[in-house]
Symmetry: C2
Subunit: 175 residues, 2 copies
Amino acid sequence: MVQFRAATRADVPAILRLLADDDVSRERDGVAPEGKDERDGVVPEGDDERDGVVPEGEDASYWAAFEAIDADPRNELIVAEEDGAVVGTCQLTFTPSLSRRGAERMTIEAVRVRGDLRGRGVGRAMMLWALARARERGCRLAQLTTDKRRTDAHRFYESLGFVASHVGMKLALET
Amino acid sequence: MVQFRAATRADVPAILRLLADDDVSRERDGVAPEGKDERDGVVPEGDDERDGVVPEGEDASYWAAFEAIDADPRNELIVAEEDGAVVGTCQLTFTPSLSRRGAERMTIEAVRVRGDLRGRGVGRAMMLWALARARERGCRLAQLTTDKRRTDAHRFYESLGFVASHVGMKLALET
């Protein structure tokens, strides 16, 4: 039985492993993972793949990021837990707006399910949980972006009611 | 000379008019505005068009939304001002993340330029200002979504360095 809850500090290493897991498969294949990695339709969002691994000496920035998310009432880092193990994660951001009669919108980022558990409905259950969370907060819109190449992911999200109405554009910033 | 700054309470009516302006043009044409409305490339993002007008009796929700944005250190409602008039707006959201070595990403929403001023570079100046703001905060990524039909907008954003790598998916939530 998979359960969903807000991540704690203790979950951070497992979450980073989930992020890194995809990183590895991408670097290995040179392209978006295909086949078994997409069975569940829940595949990593394109801009999140990099930097999933904790590099030496940079741990502090990850802990600071966790603390920032944890302290922000409009950001929720979620884990899916089964038999005491973290098997999935996503991040929910609630954005207030003057559009849509002042309601918040929910943006979903960094969706991951552990590689060996894909295809078992964990991703679907996690997205349904996230959408219920959005309704609970009174959001009128949920949104996400997914890499153009991940057609299985598009079908998965469409099966949940998402409409591929937009182009998602990204700009890497040198800092 | 156009200048950019955080919106104040006094700007809210002008911002709502900018949001509503597009609403009207869309309803009139039944499709995304073409021609002169897109000369500047800065056209409204697809999911923001609705509810730009303040309906009777619902003002309170708009003021509450403004207060929520204004009080949130990770949301910035921006106005472009020329000769004392609000001529453009956008909303910037800074999201902390465990990806990308813990850096924030900036999401740009609700981009608008006053209809009679499009094609004069206001939108470009506003986006460059927003990207400078992102760099100042140490963001490693800027992102936005734009309606699939707005091909002029895609070219505009690409000219600023954005890459159309993703599909933007939206799900309207009944509440």
